[in-house]
């Protein structure tokens, strides 16, 4: 049984009437026009929508990389909009994990060192860092690849390293921005299974942006964006 279903759910993050405007005057671009969204601990949410629908902006706000123009964003009951840049950085450091479409690993740096990176910023001592990073790599099925650099790894493997880097800190929330966008179907399915297992076994809340219906099938909940608004928010009936 997934841990998340045993107890009553607590809201992890909550968007309340969030708008986001880029630029000003006539050049102003309203990326979000009043989004309200609550995500509970242990959920696996897929965010879908065409380009320019506001889903990336929404992810940036959820990831504390950006702040709302209006409305409130609560992360574990903390109002993120009122935090300073450094406070948001600390929030990311301690509670968030990121997986990107382009993997975003450090070049010419071994897989192990890439996974260690967030632990360095957390001030974890070298030995513990090494063993935790090694374990994370083993969890994503890359035991034995520790000393390979991204250039020596396939796309699927690189994304696994990125996932290992995201989960090595045991974050409360993992944000994945089209994690399978650069991979073929077989590799994509592997990555999705990996994400599902982290959601179910470790109770890590996952919010994932995807274009592909197949990938969205893995999530329990699918949120559809269009023109800066949430148009549908439904529970996925047939989770894979």
């Amino acid at each position: 049984m997934p841990a998340a279903e045993q107890t009553e759910r607590h809201p992890l993050v909550e968007l309340q009437g969030v708008t986001k405007v880029y630029g000003s005057g006539t050049a102003a671009m309203r990326a979000l026009r009043g989004v309200s969204l609550r995500i509970d601990e242990g959920e696996f949410v897929a965010v879908m929508g065409p380009s320019g629908s506001g889903k990336s902006t929404c992810m940036n706000i959820l990831g504390c990389l950006d702040t709302p123009t209006e409305g409130r964003y609560l992360f574990k009951d903390v109002e993120v909009g009122s935090l300073t840049r450094n406070q948001r950085a600390l929030l990311r450091r301690h509670h968030l994990g990121f997986v990107f479409q382009g993997f975003n690993l450090l070049n010419r740096t071994s897989a192990l060192e890439n996974v260690e990176l967030p632990l360095i910023y957390r001030g974890v001592k070298l030995e513990e860092r090494r063993s935790r990073a090694g374990n994370a790599l083993a969890l994503v099925g890359l035991a034995g690849w520790e000393y390979h650099t991204p250039g020596e790894l396939s796309g699927g493997q690189q994304q696994r390293v990125a996932i290992a880097r995201a989960i090595v800190t045991e974050p409360a929330l993992l944000l994945a921005d089209e994690p399978t966008g650069n991979l073929d179907t077989a590799r994509s399915l592997e990555i999705m299974e990996l994400l599902t297992s982290f959601n179910q076994d470790q109770g890590i809340t996952i919010v994932m942006v995807t274009h592909e219906q197949t990938m969205a099938q893995f999530a329990r909940r699918v949120v559809q964006f269009q023109d800066g608004l949430v148009v549908t928010d439904r529970v996925n009936g047939e989770v894979r």
């Binding site: 975003n104 740096t109 990176l117 967030p118 910023y121």
Partner: protein, 401 residues
């Protein structure tokens, strides 16, 4: 965190060895140029001081005529032996006096001939001018008094006329008389002004007057002032006495000059020090240029690594951590450049001082200064790129291709 940042910086430098090397090249050249200039300047100054000391300590030179500019003197009556004796008698600060007169003469031995300066002296000359007789002896009192045809020769004359042969007790011809060599002077080498100090033949003053010049004139009196006595005081005493002896009235100028070697030393070391400072300043400019090179490359590096900075910021790096990372990188680079520069400078200085024949003086102070300066260059020129990196917006940085 700082140690981590340091290793992070090292890793970053290792990731791009060639570029790191080119980055620090400016600093390397700047640091080594400054050190080489200062070291060679210091060696030259030391050499000047040493050479002047070899002329004799506390030496005053009294010449006939007034100095009218470089190489020009006004005509005036010569000194005579009485003047020299009076100086020694009347001025207690004078410990030795050496009257002399010299003339260019061709010396001949066998088939060899050599044009050299023959100087008529008494034994005070050896003391006053710090000459050591390496083989043979100085003149005997009887030889001085009777004006015997004997001479002591310098190393250059010995080499030119006798080659490998031992010149002692041989007879050589000086102008129109033949004289016996009784002593050989120890070599002194080149003077500060570039002339060969060992190119000389010494004969008793009386011999010189009788056989070469044919008069009683003395053109140069050199005196030693006692250690611890003021040479300025001795100089004014000499001037007073000589004015009296030469009947120069109060309003007339001296028709002789007294020169203190210390003044010349001061002037020469002053000149070399000014030159050293000047060259050092020029070299320091190249250090500055090196710093700008570091800033340039660090800026390129920030642009190139924008995505990496984005990743770090997204993962939760604080602004000051990114700033520190780039700053430490710049400082590690520049101090590394400083270290290489110091090593290069030491070997270049040793080589150059050998080539220029000046003493190598190890100067740890300038190395410490150069090293600290290069590190400071890293901080100053690394700060702007580092701040640029730290202030990047993580969203834009991640999107950067």
């Amino acid at each position: 965190m700082l140690i981590n940042t340091f290793f992070l910086a090292l890793r970053e430098i290792r990731r791009n060895v060639l570029r790191s090397f080119l980055t620090i090249l400016g600093i390397v050249i700047g640091v080594s140029a400054v050190i080489v200039m200062v070291t060679i300047g210091g060696g030259a100054t030391a050499q000047v001081t040493e050479q002047i000391a070899s002329l004799g300590s506390n030496l005053l030179m009294i010449r006939v005529g007034q100095h009218m500019g470089p190489g020009q003197t006004s005509a005036a009556p010569s000194f005579d032996l009485d003047d020299a004796q009076a100086l020694f008698r009347e001025i207690p600060a004078i410990t030795a006096v050496a009257p002399s007169s010299s003339q260019k003469v061709t010396a001949v031995y066998g088939n060899a001939n050599w044009s050299t300066a023959v100087t008529g002296i008494d034994n005070g000359f050896f003391t006053v001018r710090n000459w050591t007789v390496q083989a043979g002896r100085q003149f005997l009192d009887t030889e001085l008094r009777s004006g015997k045809a004997v001479c002591v020769i310098g190393a250059t004359v010995a080499k030119e006329l006798f080659g490998q042969q031992n010149p002692l007790d041989s007879k050589m011809r000086l102008g129109n008389f033949s004289c016996q060599i009784i002593g050989l002077l120890e070599a002194k080498g080149q003077s500060t002004f570039g002339s060969d100090q060992d190119d000389l033949v010494l004969v008793p003053l009386r011999t010189f007057q009788r056989r070469i010049s044919g008069n009683q004139d003395i053109s140069l009196i050199q005196v030693s002032v006692a250690e611890g006595r003021s040479t300025d005081k001795a100089k004014s005493d000499i001037e007073y006495l000589l004015r009296e002896r030469r009947h120069i009235s109060g309003s007339e100028n001296d028709n002789f000059q007294v020169r203190d070697l210390k003044e010349i030393t001061k002037m020469l070391t002053g000149t070399t020090q000014i030159l050293t400072t000047l060259l050092g300043a020029v070299a320091a400019v190249s250090l500055l240029v090196g710093g700008i090179g570091i800033m340039n490359i660090m800026l390129v590096s920030v642009t190139e690594r924008t995505r990496e900075i984005g990743i770090r910021l997204a993962i939760g790096a604080l602004e000051r951590e990114v700033l520190l990372q780039f700053l430490v990188e710049a400082v590690v680079l520049s101090s590394f450049g400083g270290l290489i520069g110091i090593l290069l400078a030491v070997s270049a200085s040793i080589g150059l001082t050998k080539m220029l024949n000046i003493p190598f003086i190890f100067n740890p102070g300038i190395m410490v200064i150069a090293f600290l300066f290069s590190a400071a260059v890293g901080v100053i020129f690394g700060f702007f790129p580092a701040r640029k990196a730290a202030r990047l917006d993580p969203i834009d940085a991640l999107r950067h291709e």
